[in-house]
Symmetry: C2
């Protein structure tokens, strides 16, 4: 019969190490050697079945998403991923499920140089909590709430693709489903962009909600809806522009970066993203109005549902799934 | 209507900070300043309703236990607690529940100098994941698997009290229920004992299972059952000595420390615990037999159920609760 310790052994056999890991999986805690002079950047995210993913998801997709959500938080701080803890709560000790989960989790970790050094295993309703530890130059931390009036607002990639995939469910084009299930944390580009930015956050709760996190008290912003980037997949999934805007402004789970920067830094930032082959779009500007306004091509304010993603106030993934 | 962000604000208003916290609750991740030259010690534990605690538990007890389990892991490494992340998965955004939970969590954190610096909030079946970060002198880390033949084995406190409380449920004396719900992480005494010890672990899975973690491959140990410490509460709850031994050897959740040490270090270790007013008992010895043997007063081997605590193989707390 497979138990907790067999599963932990299975994980241990697949993880790497380096000289920063004094003690990895197998002791009461991991012991790590931080880089002198670096800030330690720490974040955690939990994925719950039925809220963040559906029961029919492949375990590898769950493994990828659980880690990507955490790496995205490190990216939003311009931190370099270093170490991971993984707390798995599983309905049963299923080694095949675990292997498949790790098939999604470990390659993403390796790609960003993060080592799995410990964790926890419990039985219960399926949920996954990852803790990601990264390092960053204390003076180079990319923070929320640091925008300056007159700064431009910009975003990587095409926000709304994940939300469109999520809203349409099985009816969505594969490209959009992949954007929801296999988001790409913007770790490398965030560190390249950081010197040019005044503030940044990752888009996990919805573009407008996360954009608002960049602002200081009393600040506001205008977003030019016609400047929101779109892709053929998104256009075909949501051809009606108001529905598309709604998904782009309030849909969560894109894990793109939203950022503020002085207008004279736009060319440097654009060049970074061009070199990386990543879309990057200026979508608005910070002001002192205290209000977030979204304007269409005629300069008319677009009235949208402002709720963004709230884990208690938003409907669960399954409810959205059933109403495409 | 209360949402995720209201709950996070509620937490933020109650937590302290110090100069090691560059960025606490409210950004994409926390940014911390580790102490130069110290190893970073990282651990995580998840508590699931019905497995680790019962639906009728007071939220403050859940908050205490969730943190105590993590601080106990840091204790077992002789680490000093520094920073905490808290990932809460709650069925509903109930501010009263959260306040009561924090009433158990925050005072324990403060007592051990640990700062809550970030976390995550999701909706779903109740579970709590804490990540605890501590620091320790890299040369002073208290590790598993470092026992030497001839070392004595010792334990703090009275192992089995939590298991007896858990097994008897509402029928248990209050003192035993408190030992299960409100375990005391042995943080300070572990750091005082560390210089005298060859190896240590905390007793979370059961005394024998965790004692086995101290041994190197090929090593074994004998445990003298008559040397297991008992308390009036434990004696009255489990008067029959075989039932008591079973609870003491295999019951989890004591969060005491089990340790190995050279015989000529016994007096120093005992003096540490005496000064702290904490029971400390030598219960056995390490050998090269490759076997764990438990001997009664007549030198007869005691046959017990060796399973210890496995989150998948052991019955859930609720099942134990219903069969006192």
């Amino acid at each position: 019969m497979t138990g907790e310790f067999d599963l932990i052994d299975r994980i241990r056999q697949r993880v790497g190490s380096d000289s920063s890991v004094l003690l990895g999986i197998g002791d009461d805690a991991a012991a790590l050697l931080p880089t002198p002079g670096q800030a330690l950047v720490a974040t955690t995210d939990t994925l719950v079945e039925g809220r963040h993913f559906l029961p029919d998801w492949a375990p590898a997709d769950i493994g990828h998403l659980a880690l990507a959500a955490n790496l995205s938080d490190l990216a939003a701080m311009a931190a370099r991923p270093r170490w991971l803890l993984l707390s798995l709560t599983l309905p049963a000790a299923d080694p095949d499920w675990l292997d498949a989960f790790l098939d999604g989790f470990l390659p993403l970790a390796e790609r960003f140089g993060a080592l799995l050094v410990g964790g926890n295993m419990s039985s219960g309703p399926l949920s996954i909590t990852v803790q990601a530890l990264g390092e960053a130059d204390p003076a180079g931390l990319l923070r929320r709430g640091q925008a300056r009036p007159g700064d431009c607002l910009a975003v990587t990639g095409v926000p709304g693709e994940a939300a469109a995939g999520l809203a349409l469910g099985h009816a969505a084009p594969l490209a959009l489903i992949e954007r929801w299930k296999r988001p790409e944390p913007r770790v490398d580009i965030a560190r390249q962009l950081a010197p040019w930015l005044s503030s940044a956050a990752d888009v996990s709760d919805g573009l407008l909600a996360d954009l608002a996190h960049l602002l200081r008290p009393g600040q506001g912003a205008t977003v030019q809806l016609s400047d929101l980037p779109a892709s053929p997949a998104l256009m075909s999934a949501l051809p009606e522009h108001r529905a598309r805007w709604q998904a782009q402004l309030t849909g969560g789970s894109d894990y793109e970066l939203v950022m503020s920067l002085a207008p004279d830094r736009i060319e440097q930032a654009r060049a970074c993203c061009q070199a990386a082959g990543l879309a990057w779009s200026v979508i608005g500007q910070v002001n002192d109005s205290g209000q977030l306004r979204c304007l269409d091509e005629q300069g008319q304010a677009f009235e949208f549902d402002r709720s963004g993603w709230d884990h208690f106030l938003s409907p669960p993934v399954t409810a959205r799934e059933s109403t495409p």
